[in-house]
């Protein structure tokens, strides 16, 4: 699975999403729970705004000095005996990872959750090289068992599936014979995956925050699978997007506090695991070999642009969890493993406007995302910026829209044109008015009136009435 998911055009994906009532019910109730969890966690602290400002300060400083901190990180990883590969492209990353696996004669790879490995399509590369790759995050594993159903959320990837569907997948693919109770499903996964962990020779993880000062990578999880992946296999490979880094342990701590609260309303998740290099001499468990793969894959193009702050994202999904558009269309509608507001900003930057030009318009600019972001990324402003780019730089706007915006500009920059235009409105729309409203409008208005009534323009505008009033009062 690469970043792109599905082949259907945007409008069809949206219609599919809107038609999937189960998915929408699941997403809606999940959003409700995420929302109250996040708000409670923020309220408990009392000064959430100060925390957000600190998060923003840290992310801004780190990304502005990304070259420095990545160099420091790599120095410190190697001091501890780990290897570091800087990959500019997905292909370079996959080639290196595949080679490490081959060199270690790896057959069975267990993975913990990682968005960047999805983005670079790593599983497929490893499978093509003859390896078995097993996802161990419960949600990811469910999707993998279900013939690689794409994730629809960056924190809870199987959010779109209900427990009955999951039971059926387990039954059909793995011979599961118990009920749809979540506890029973999870116990089944525990037992199945326990065997895999004990046999695996390679463990692959993502990375929440790498700590430059000590060459440490940290993993934020609840299930314990990332600990399994980094405790049992002899070789560990960690793949990180190049922006997932902090200067020191002190900043890691702050960002983890923001992440767990914003993502799931927890003070901390069950496990925060901070790993430095391979195991030390005399230690029994942990990997003997450690590789860190730092991935660019299009991110560096964002540096130095007005979109730079999207690289501050800590992947908490708070923006997704408050987005009303996401609630109704679901994650798959975005056509990318990165859905919701962050996806609508990031996906076109990584994947281009040709493929993703609709995404920046899939927002009312209600700014719920911006308000929820724990590191204060102005997400709705980035969406606007995309629209500007699409219109002005790329010239990809529809012709009709272009003409009407030209007319708008003429009509509003000049009072005489506005005067004529607004006076003409009642006449132009007169034929469509019935009972002081329009129920079947022409042109672009049709999209409006298919759903709602449109008010008839008044014969006398406010400015006419105001003038009349003034005259009547002898002013």
């Amino acid at each position: 699975m690469a970043m792109k998911i599905g082949e259907k055009p945007f409008k069809e994906r949206v219609s599919d999403g809107i038609g999937d009532l189960f998915m929408r019910g699941a997403v809606s109730s999940a959003q409700g729970r995420f929302r109250s969890g996040r708000l409670n966690a923020a309220e408990e602290l009392g000064n959430w705004e100060d925390w957000r400002k600190l998060g923003e300060e840290i992310r801004t400083h780190t990304i502005e000095n990304l070259d420095y901190y990545l160099e420091l990180l790599s120095e410190n990883v190697t001091k501890r005996g780990g290897h570091v590969f800087f990959a500019e492209t997905a292909e370079e990353a996959n080639e290196y990872i595949t080679n490490v696996v081959k060199k270690n004669n790896g057959k069975k790879v267990v993975k913990s959750k990682s968005m960047v490995t999805e983005e670079i399509n790593m599983n497929e590369a490893l499978e093509n090289a003859g390896c078995e790759v097993i996802e161990s995050d419960l949600g990811e594993w469910i999707l993998q068992v279900d013939d690689h159903d794409p994730p629809s959320h960056i924190v809870t990837p199987a959010l779109h599936k209900n427990k009955e569907q999951i039971r059926d997948v387990f039954r059909d693919k793995l011979g599961y014979d118990k009920t749809e109770k979540p506890e029973e499903l999870a116990l089944f996964a525990r037992e199945k995956l326990r065997e895999e962990f004990l046999q695996a020779d390679i463990g692959i993880t993502g990375c929440n925050f790498a700590i430059a000062e000590s060459g440490t990578i940290s993993l934020v999880t609840n299930e314990g699978n990332a600990r399994m992946v980094t405790t049992i296999p002899k070789t560990q490979i960690t793949v990180m997007g190049m922006e997932r880094i902090v200067p020191t342990w002190e900043e890691m701590e702050v960002l983890v506090s923001l992440l767990t609260r914003a993502a799931v309303g927890q003070k901390l998740t069950s496990y925060i695991t901070a790993l430095t290099g391979p195991k030390q001499v005399g230690e029994v468990d942990g990997p003997e070999e450690f590789h860190l793969v730092i991935v660019d894959n299009g991110r560096s193009k964002i540096l130095g642009t007005a979109f730079q702050s999207i690289l501050h994202c800590i992947r908490c999904a708070a923006c997704i969890n408050v987005c009303p558009v996401y609630r109704h269309v679901g994650g798959h509608s975005y056509g990318s493993i990165y859905p919701g507001p962050v996806g609508a900003v990031l996906t076109p930057l990584l994947g281009g406007y040709d493929e993703y030009k609709e995404l920046p318009y899939a927002s009312t600019l209600c700014a719920a995302c911006t308000e929820a972001c724990p590191v204060k990324i102005p997400l709705h402003e980035h969406l606007l910026r995309h629209r500007q780019g699409i219109v002005e730089k790329e010239g990809k706007a529809p012709v009709f829209e272009n003409i009407s915006m030209k007319a708008f500009s003429m009509g509003t920059a000049s009072p005489s044109m506005y005067n004529i235009g607004s006076r003409l409105a009642p006449k132009a729309l007169g034929a469509f008015v019935k009972d002081d409203k329009i129920s079947d409008g022409p042109g672009p208005l049709k999209n409006w009136t298919e759903i709602r009534d449109f008010p008839a323009p008044k014969k006398d505008r406010f400015r006419d009435l105001y003038k009349k009033r003034k005259k009547e009062r002898g002013e």
């Binding site: 409008k11 949206v14 809107i18 009303p324 558009v325 109704h328 269309v329 318009y361 899939a362 927002s363 009312t364 600019l365 209600c366 700014a367 719920a368 308000e371 606007l384 995309h386 629209r387 500007q388 780019g389 699409i390 219109v391 002005e392 706007a397 829209e401 915006m405 030209k406 708008f408 500009s409 009509g411 509003t412 920059a413 000049s414 009072p415 506005y418 607004s422 409105a425 409203k437 129920s439 208005l445 999209n447 409006w448 298919e450 759903i451 709602r452 009534d453 449109f454 008010p455 008839a456 323009p457 008044k458 006398d460 505008r461 406010f462 400015r463 009435l465 105001y466 003038k467 009033r469």
Partner: protein, 238 residues
């Protein structure tokens, strides 16, 4: 106090009563209201569609129109937000940024002006019924006006305010979003109409004509017995 009314194009063309109510209300509160006739639109439709250069033409015009006003008051949270955004749009422009800043600094949404500048919470209005209030997104999240409308509405004689469930949800208007992404917009406005019904209110009050046109248009289409009113009209009821 001298106040220049920025009436907004939606009110000028479609909701003329709201404009008149705003004038009467402000006058009743002791303001001297003028209406600069050269005003057009704040430029938001073009700006939010990505036509920033074209929007700037309208913006410059509006900066000129209100250059000499003492206060600019508008019965729309969203259009007021747009004025407040002007300095950001003209950032780095040595001529227009400072002028935009001056306009932003003296612009107020109507309820914000009444509560924060005039210091009034009871405007002496009287209206019987059960009402609920739609907190529009730009007004609450971007302009930061959260308390003022409720303070005013709670003092309206005879009006029983009902909480609106999920009031933080967007109504699905979003300007051109409502026609560009009409299928999604429909789901959002339906959800909002449902919340309004669930509140038990007979009157839906809002401070933004765009949202009200959207929710009201859907309420009409579905034939729901809910009246939609702009807050200026509520506060001008006697």
């Amino acid at each position: 106090m001298k106040v220049s009314l920025f009436v907004t194009c939606l009110i000028d063309i479609f909701q003329t009563d709201v404009g008149l109510d705003t004038v009467e209300l402000l006058e009743r509160l002791g303001c001297e209201v003028d209406f600069p006739e050269m005003q057009t639109c704040c430029g938001q439709p073009a700006y939010n569609s990505g036509y920033v250069d074209k929007a700037k033409e309208s913006m410059k015009h509006m900066i000129n129109v209100f250059e000499h006003s003492e206060y600019v008051v508008t019965p729309s949270g969203s259009c007021g937000t747009m004025f407040r955004e002007y300095p950001h749009v003209f950032k780095g422009d040595p001529v227009w940024e400072p002028r935009a800043q001056k306009l932003a600094d003296k612009t107020y949404e109507l309820t914000q002006f009444i509560v924060d500048v005039l210091g009034v919470e009871d405007v002496g209005a009287k209206l019987n019924g059960k009402a609920t209030y739609h907190t529009s997104c730009h007004m609450t999240r971007l302009l930061g006006v959260k308390e003022a409308p409720m303070k005013l509405l709670n003092k309206v004689d005879g009006l029983e305010m009902k909480p609106l469930p999920h009031n933080y949800n967007c109504c699905g208007f979003g300007g051109t979003f409502s026609v560009k992404m009409s299928e999604i917009s429909e789901q959002m406005v339906d959800e909002k109409v449902q919340s309004v019904e669930d509140s038990g209110a007979e009157i839906l009050v809002g401070a933004d004509c765009g949202c009200l046109m959207n929710i009201g248009g859907r309420i009409d289409r579905k034939g729901k017995p809910i009246k939609v009113m702009h807050i200026a009209s509520v506060l001008n009821s006697r």
